[in-house]
Subunit: 304 residues, 2 copies
Amino acid sequence: MTESELIERLRRLFPKIGDDAAVVGDQVITTDMLIEDVDFTRAVPMESVARKSLTSNLSDLAAMGARPSFAVVALGAPKWLDIIAFMSAMAEAAQKYSIEIVGGDLSRAEKLVVSIAAIGIAKRPLRRSGAKAGDRVYVSRPLGASSAGLQLLQSGWPRDLPYTQREFAESVIRRHIDPEPEVTLGIPLASIDAVNACIDISDGLSTDLHHLCDASGVGAEIERERLPVFPDLTAIGPAMGIDVRRAVLHGGEEYALLFTSSMRESELSERVGRPVYAIGKIVVERGVRIDGEQLPAGGFDHFA
Amino acid sequence: MTESELIERLRRLFPKIGDDAAVVGDQVITTDMLIEDVDFTRAVPMESVARKSLTSNLSDLAAMGARPSFAVVALGAPKWLDIIAFMSAMAEAAQKYSIEIVGGDLSRAEKLVVSIAAIGIAKRPLRRSGAKAGDRVYVSRPLGASSAGLQLLQSGWPRDLPYTQREFAESVIRRHIDPEPEVTLGIPLASIDAVNACIDISDGLSTDLHHLCDASGVGAEIERERLPVFPDLTAIGPAMGIDVRRAVLHGGEEYALLFTSSMRESELSERVGRPVYAIGKIVVERGVRIDGEQLPAGGFDHFA
């Protein structure tokens, strides 16, 4: 059973499950669990894991256009973990994004597990299911860095690289271990009536675009040359063994927003006060295509 | 560092943490994580683990006098787990206690981890910190079964017991693996102005009474002979190797409520429509005493 099939069966048990976060009145609520050796390894600084566990929830709130409100944290802490340092890093991230950690649960565990539930407020929550044929498909920032950073972390990149390569490596690794959730973009997007659907790119552009299209009952056509690529990834990545196409199209944990709107790129960028990138359009015909070819979901599937 | 010391340091980082659940407006929110081989083993039916993961959260809501509203579930699922059966059991428990599971997160994991955040509504939340000298100390039901059940599970009790012993064993094991949260008691208690403080017995009577007294800046004196003991535990338990005093005073995961009120036992029982048990009184002098002797916190401490 793939994750999609499993989630389909779970959805029959819990009909409200579907978006990045659940909507209850004017609140949205989301939860994310990170597990050692599944979602991260001890090669990553634990302070980054602490921040990322909050970030992934904040990204879900951003995708719904919600303002962060409060969160609870359940921590399964192995003996080697400096709990105070870990939670201090999380507290700092919480302050940065104006979310208050109001409660928690602490247990011993063999492997580090951190599970957060976060609640936000949204008058008009953005959903995956609102995309309409004719909408433009947008991403909120250049893609590929998170996946490239993960690949370099896993391959144990050499430290004696030339300066530009080392700088590139450090910057993509930083993007992987300390991603920025699009908290300040989601809120203005939700206030624009012409923004119809939104999801965050956690499983990879291809997979999450499939999720959005499937939820909306539409298809999408995107153009390779319109995809914004992380600076220097095209120039430096291949020499370091990075498959740029794969990183951009299928790389997970980007925490960029993927959304659709009837508005033009220039108009929408002006409304939100920063660049956003139109990469294609929503069409009636189901499925996702890139330059006319089928683009299968190629991102991360826990249960594949 | 003990759990108490650690929590004290965490409290400085997160000042709102303290009660069984956090209070935000008229909402209360709690989270609990259960981890395989820490909180349960595979000897227990997984459907019970599913129910208990929800029950422990519902018990926290009950301790705050909150009406269950909604919950999110993060599940780290090992390959051997029947996820649909697990979540079906949880869905059934959710329906029983009128809480709606609105969202979740699913990952692969080596060991089963389930983390739930639950939200309830309370106009006047009950807190640990409200106990006043002169209050009576109450427990909501007879104690000792959960701990006795755990002990029998761990010792692998013989199946060829005489009928009464087998029936006793099965009943205490059931109380351990499928505890009932006091959802229908917490709500009426919160509506009674003369109920001043409440906590659920998750770490054991002694430990949780210390928690309540410490939060309230008071002490407690309880009487051994007033403690309600689970039926047949005194008569049958010792022959099966159960330390009854230990099970009653220090046994965790009871999910009974421990609360204080200026009202008399008969009066309070009548108000809530069921028996509640006065076991002693709140006094000015700090610490917890039983029949005049110090009663140290002897329950479960993850970090001892």
